[in-house]
């Protein structure tokens, strides 16, 4: 697990450098220890944004004042996003299979 962690940290460092300078194409291979750490991270990715998300307590008054707008915006937006993505994908896939 540690070699994978080191590799990810190195990539992170490289990413920081890249985002500061140019954006060339990075080519890398994914080996098994990297995949192991990556899976562990992905599975418990949630814990990493707890500290930031707890900051919501600083915004409670603002959220309360805008509760209606926020709730509607979030619900309608997620319903539309899922629908549009799915419908576009089905339309394009159908068109594709008709042509071939």
């Amino acid at each position: 697990m540690i070699p994978g962690l080191v590799q990810i940290l190195l990539w992170q460092g490289l990413g920081e450098l890249v985002s500061h300078f140019v954006l060339p194409i990075i080519k890398g291979s994914v080996n098994s220890s990297l995949a192991l750490v990556s899976d562990a991270f992905s599975q418990h990715l949630g814990v990493l944004f707890v500290p930031a998300a707890v900051g919501v307590i600083l915004f409670l008054p603002q959220l309360k004042a805008n509760a209606m707008a926020i709730g509607l915006a979030l619900v309608v937006s997620v319903v539309l996003t899922i629908s549009v993505t799915a419908l576009v994908l089905r339309f394009l896939a159908k068109k594709d299979s008709h042509e071939s």
Partner: protein, 241 residues
């Protein structure tokens, strides 16, 4: 004050000054959330992050600790967020065969979904008269939280609000996704999964994996791609809207 309580107070002063306390409550709260999530058979409302945030907030309220003090201690966990973002490359790498076969439809669907997500949320919130600070935080909300927070920083809006909106979006997507896709009579697992990953990032992906492995693979691919495209395009898009 008796000597015993004085001693406890001293220990408390020491503990609350070190990162230990913040780290312990963060990890414990998440573990409680994780156990609830597993026990409830991965029910989306029992989201471990949502539970952890509630528990930590409650705990800070009870011990009367300001958020800034907590965050100083918990920033070690926060730092790893950037590291974890890098590991999002792995699902893309794994899904690269699928991506190659269907590159154009997937990319077009992703961009349509991403634009709809932003435009609908921002216009509804604007119509209903929400504060500008809140509207700004809607832009990256369908992108996976670690990347969304980076985008938020770049846009000059609150990363915290963005993270909260991203988590709520993920929970809503995971809860409503199957119903919406059934109503639209979507039959292909790859299409269903990709729609879930595009709209509801990690939480939707976890839901998609629980439903069907093919849906899960495409959902994680969508989440990774949306992260990359979002990081590049959302700052540009915001200038034009």
């Amino acid at each position: 004050m008796n000597p015993n309580s004085l001693q406890i107070a001293e220990i408390w002063v020491y503990l609350s000054g070190s990162p230990l306390f913040a780290l312990i409550i963060t990890l414990t709260a998440y573990e409680v959330g994780h156990v609830c999530y597993q026990k409830s058979d991965k029910y989306p409302l029992a989201n471990p992050v949502a539970i952890a945030v509630l528990l930590v907030a409650l705990c800070l309220y009870l011990v009367d600790m300001p958020y800034q003090t907590y965050f100083e201690g918990a920033q070690f966990v926060h730092f790893l967020l950037g590291t974890a973002t890098v590991s999002l490359a792995v699902p893309i790498y794994r899904g690269i065969a699928a991506l190659r076969a269907r590159l154009i439809p997937l990319l077009i669907a992703l961009i349509c979904g991403g634009v709809v997500s932003i435009v609908s949320a921002v216009s509804i919130a604007t119509l209903l008269g929400a504060d500008a600070a809140i509207i700004g935080a809607f832009y990256p909300k369908s992108v996976t939280a670690p990347i969304a927070m980076g985008v938020a920083e770049r846009l000059g809006v609150s990363p915290t609000l963005t993270a909260v909106f991203a988590v709520v979006t993920g929970i809503l997507g995971a809860m409503l996704g199957s119903t919406i896709l059934n109503l639209l009579s979507m039959k292909q697992w790859w299409q269903r999964g990709f729609a879930m990953g595009t709209a509801a990032h990690g939480i939707g992906t976890s839901r998609a994996f629980a439903v069907h492995p093919e849906a899960g693979t495409y959902a994680s691919l969508a989440m990774g791609l949306h992260g990359i495209l979002g990081a590049l395009l959302i700052p540009l898009l915001k200038n034009y809207l």
